[in-house]
């Protein structure tokens, strides 16, 4: 009898584990970085982009990563060690399923929230967002070579339009008969847009200024491709000392641990601990306040001289 119940528990655990995979959250916006070695950098003119320019831009709602679930204490029935183990596995499978469901629901809810904006801007092809310089570098997979890099842009927009960002997932498959799925290069280039003004947000909500949103998506994509190009040719290799960088956007303050690899009046580029390359508008990087002030001073001097 006890043996049967243990078997039943094991079957139940396996069933739950299998079922938990049915409604899984999307995780294609994450990769473990694989960087090119110093000797493997690609020559400037050899970089080719593998993507379908006809493909529609993938625009998703910005979602919370919180997979925490509420759960009271769990009572395990006494029995053989096998049945106890089966119960623990069943418990783990249920929890894992609940956590994945929560993440999936958050992603679905975030996507639903931005659906009105998606409807008003309509289908936007990647080709329409890319600049002509980069369109020339696009090749199809049948003509791609050893140095061709696959790119998959995913745009994230928050429901209130206060935050627009892009994750450019990029990879180069390892050549020859290596392990299936092995990568020669793999990384994410993340670009955060300068926040919209309240007036522009109001216009976009009313469907009156969709061009501004499209221009922003285009600028972000071209910036990300440029940065990817720089990474592949080794231009991002020199790094500063690791530090905690303060990002202040509206009332929200967050911190990123990483290395600043480039800074300009418009953008600060850093490499986070995952080695992802992240672009933040310099106006939201609190550590850059002094540099930004210098930029404003230079700009205003220029304006005065012209006038």
């Amino acid at each position: 009898m006890m043996k049967n119940s243990a078997k039943l528990c094991i079957v139940l655990a396996l069933g739950l584990t299998a079922l938990s995979g049915c409604k899984s959250a999307k995780r294609d916006d994450y990769v473990a970085a694989v960087e090119l070695n110093k000797g493997n950098y690609i020559a400037k003119h050899d970089v080719r982009l593998l993507l379908n320019p006809e493909m529609s831009a993938d625009i998703r709602g910005r979602y919370s990563n919180n997979r925490s679930i509420e759960q009271g204490s769990m009572l395990y029935a006494a029995g053989t060690p096998a049945s106890a183990l089966a119960q623990v596995f069943a418990h783990a499978a249920i929890n894992s399923s609940l956590q994945e469901n929560k993440l999936s629901q958050q992603q679905t809810a975030a996507n639903k929230e931005i659906q009105p904006f998606k409807d008003t801007i309509g289908e936007v092809s990647i080709g329409n967002l890319l600049s002509s310089d980069y369109l020339e570098k696009v090749v199809s997979s049948d003509v791609g070579d050893f140095n061709s890099v696959n790119v998959k842009p995913i745009f994230f927009v928050s429901g209130d339009l206060s935050h627009v960002s892009l994750k450019l997932v990029s990879w180069i498959d390892a050549p020859g008969k290596t392990k299936k799925g092995a990568k020669r290069y793999q990384n994410i280039i993340e670009v955060h847009a300068e926040p919209f003004s309240d007036e522009v947000i109001r216009q976009i909500r009313q469907g009156a200024n969709q061009q501004q949103l499209k221009s922003k998506l285009s600028a972000m994509l071209n910036r990300a491709i440029k940065s990817l190009h720089d990474d592949l040719v080794g231009a991002h290799a020199n790094m500063s000392v690791q530090q905690t960088i303060k990002i202040k956007s509206g009332n929200r303050t967050r911190f990123i641990r990483g290395n600043v690899i480039a800074r300009s009046c418009d953008y600060t580029i850093l490499k986070n601990l995952r080695k992802w390359i992240i672009h933040y508008p310099s106006s939201v990087v609190a550590n850059e306040t002094n540099s930004l002030q210098a930029c404003h001073n230079v700009q205003s001097e220029g304006t005065t001289e012209r006038s």
Binding site: N65, R67, I69, Q71, G72, S73, H91, A92, R257
Partner: protein, 233 residues
């Protein structure tokens, strides 16, 4: 004879109940620092406890075996956290120093041994007063106000239900900061902090040395430093 034994047992139960009831006292609520209580001539001493290396704090794995399993399951994360430098969390004391320095000229860090702290007498005051009598330190350390910054735990925090995790590890810093008027033993300021920060995306990245959890930890450290700075606003 039986009746006498019953009576003794009843008294014992009553005494035990009274004793146990006393174990759960009302926790000290937060006390905001009133700037008027500090003046530029006040001498302030800041004490910070010894900060141990970062690690994973497990909560909710209530049985001994469950806790052992949870600790073992998170051992590689804990080992990584232990390898991180403690300089960032230790810099919290400088935030407190700078805050008091903006209020008074005489601020210094003070050393107190564990033995010294444990030997302080109990103080029978209401809420708003320190539980130990710190008044003897006024003349000994030549200060008017003692600031205690205690970091209880830092690193990552993970909730369990028995053997099974119900949350992913989160960046974590917890502790308490309070300042005591050494004339009255009254709290001039009291604040607990228990900062948890979610990991963005995946957390289980042992090959890359847990960059997601590490970043969340540094975020928690900086957020605690921000809240310590806010005491003086």
């Amino acid at each position: 004879m039986g009746l006498k034994l019953m009576k003794q047992l009843s008294i014992l139960i009553v005494l035990l109940t009274v004793f146990l009831a006393g174990c759960k006292s009302t926790p000290q609520p937060a006390v905001r620092l009133k700037p008027e209580l500090l003046n530029e001539n006040m001498r302030v001493g800041i004490y910070i406890n010894e900060i141990k290396p970062a690690t994973t704090s497990i909560q909710g794995a209530d049985c001994l075996l469950c806790y052992g399993v949870a600790v073992a399951a998170n051992s590689s994360l804990s080992s990584h956290l232990e390898s991180l430098p403690t300089s960032d969390i230790e810099s919290a004391k400088q935030v407190v120093y700078d805050g008091y320095k903006s209020k008074t000229q005489h601020v210094e860090f003070v050393e107190l041994s564990k033995d010294k702290l444990s030997k302080l007498k109990k103080f029978k005051g209401e809420l708003g007063f320190a539980k130990k009598d710190f008044r003897s330190l006024k003349s000994e350390l030549n200060i008017d106000v003692l600031v205690m910054l205690n970091i209880h735990a830092h690193g990552a925090h993970r909730m369990y239900s028995a053997y099974v995790p119900v949350t992913d590890p989160q960046g974590y810093v917890s502790g308490v900061i309070y300042s005591i008027d050494l004339e009255t033993n009254q709290y001039l300021q009291f604040q607990r902090f228990n900062r948890k920060v979610l990991v963005e995306g995946e957390w289980d990245e042992p090959k890359q040395q847990f960059p997601g959890v590490t970043n969340a930890y540094y975020q928690a450290v900086e957020k605690v430093k921000l809240s310590l700075g806010n005491i003086f606003l």
